[in-house]
Symmetry: C2
Amino acid sequence: MLVNGKADNPISPADRGLAYGDGLFETLRISKGRPVFLEAHLARMQTGCERLGIAFDTGDFRQDIDHLLSSPDSPDMVLKLLVTRGAGGRGYRPGAETRPTRVASLHPLPSFTGTPGRVFVCKQRLAAQPAFAGIKHLNRLEQVAASREWPDDSFVEGLMLDYQDHPIEGTRSNVFVVRDGTILTPELSACGIAGVLRQHLLDTLAPGVETTTIDMENLRGADELFFCNSVLGIIPVASLLYGAESWRYNSHTVTNRARDLFEAALQTC
Amino acid sequence: MLVNGKADNPISPADRGLAYGDGLFETLRISKGRPVFLEAHLARMQTGCERLGIAFDTGDFRQDIDHLLSSPDSPDMVLKLLVTRGAGGRGYRPGAETRPTRVASLHPLPSFTGTPGRVFVCKQRLAAQPAFAGIKHLNRLEQVAASREWPDDSFVEGLMLDYQDHPIEGTRSNVFVVRDGTILTPELSACGIAGVLRQHLLDTLAPGVETTTIDMENLRGADELFFCNSVLGIIPVASLLYGAESWRYNSHTVTNRARDLFEAALQTC
């Protein structure tokens, strides 16, 4: 764990990351001792800094990553990068003197079989807030509340809807639906995080993905449903519990194609 | 500054307050060396803990407050109380072993004249999120973004609207409108923070306050407009800049009555 490049630097209790969630983060997969999709993660965080008005060059993390990966515990891990606006300012109003705080840390890779699993629909909804949609900021109470609904460890993900009943994403992943040969993923202009693996699949998954508004009816009777994130890769879905119903997905053709694309990225990073 | 009751305790970079804004805070006025509206602040934070599912007894702050106020720099200060769910869990999902982190700190009282001042209307809107409305949680990017719009120090507050153009609150305060002898304040079921001084005014301000949905038209031609928070008290408004218009408020009769109620609370705490 490095805070502003040093192992023993403290986090100020006055840091605006703690006070207001005033910052951004990324979680990257480390494969063969190297970060996967590093440039895309740094670029997304840079976009986030611009959206929030945080004067920070995400390239500053490169030295931290080199340092941490010079002696990793394992070649397969999770790298977390977090930046805040720093400490200072008068209440919510940032001060001109505020300097960003950056934290880089390595964590064990969570166990994950990749077997098609069960998904629940979260009661916690995502609010429409275009100002912060897409970026991976530190205001994550919606995801925390949704994750607290997890019925038991037999479930692989929770599906989050907006207040108009549109599926948007998983608690920690993006979602894709395959129906009648068409691959769909929700558009994220009002809420949701625009995932790095989601973008990679948008760029590479044949025969092309349609980014659109999705209804629960699109999921009923769909051929395939899967989630994705940069750490676990593809999360295949066997069934979706929705109220008293359980919708099953027996095909995984496109899901497996997506997994092959992720596996290829792990090899070529 | 005390972290879990000790002056030299560090904040873990893995704390969920920093990672996700997974916690709550209160800012209290210290008057004559004593906290004002202490019970109401602790009660609001306790409600917040219950809403977020954080197992914490806000009474734990009492020993910290006694300790900090045993030798304050000044009899008039600001006390900040902050609690997070603590460090731990698998990503967004909290762990059973997670223990809350509490931070108590004293700060100088900001300078504030109380002279009627100018208010701007923030471009940053408040999202409708009933799950977290009313409580003072740590997900405050909306307030940070709104505060960054502050035109210059001649302005005393920014008015925040929801996405349906309803005035909800100030960037750091609640708002009251006086019109034709009626006192109005926005209802906060979908967004906004239910302020402790707001509640005190609802309980005590004659001839009674109507809590309702407010439109910008209610502010045009209103007799009085004022904001309130527990630290500064009453923020009187001389004019509101709204697009190309400037709406003036020349009467301050109810505003002054509210200020008298706040001044009385400072004396009797």
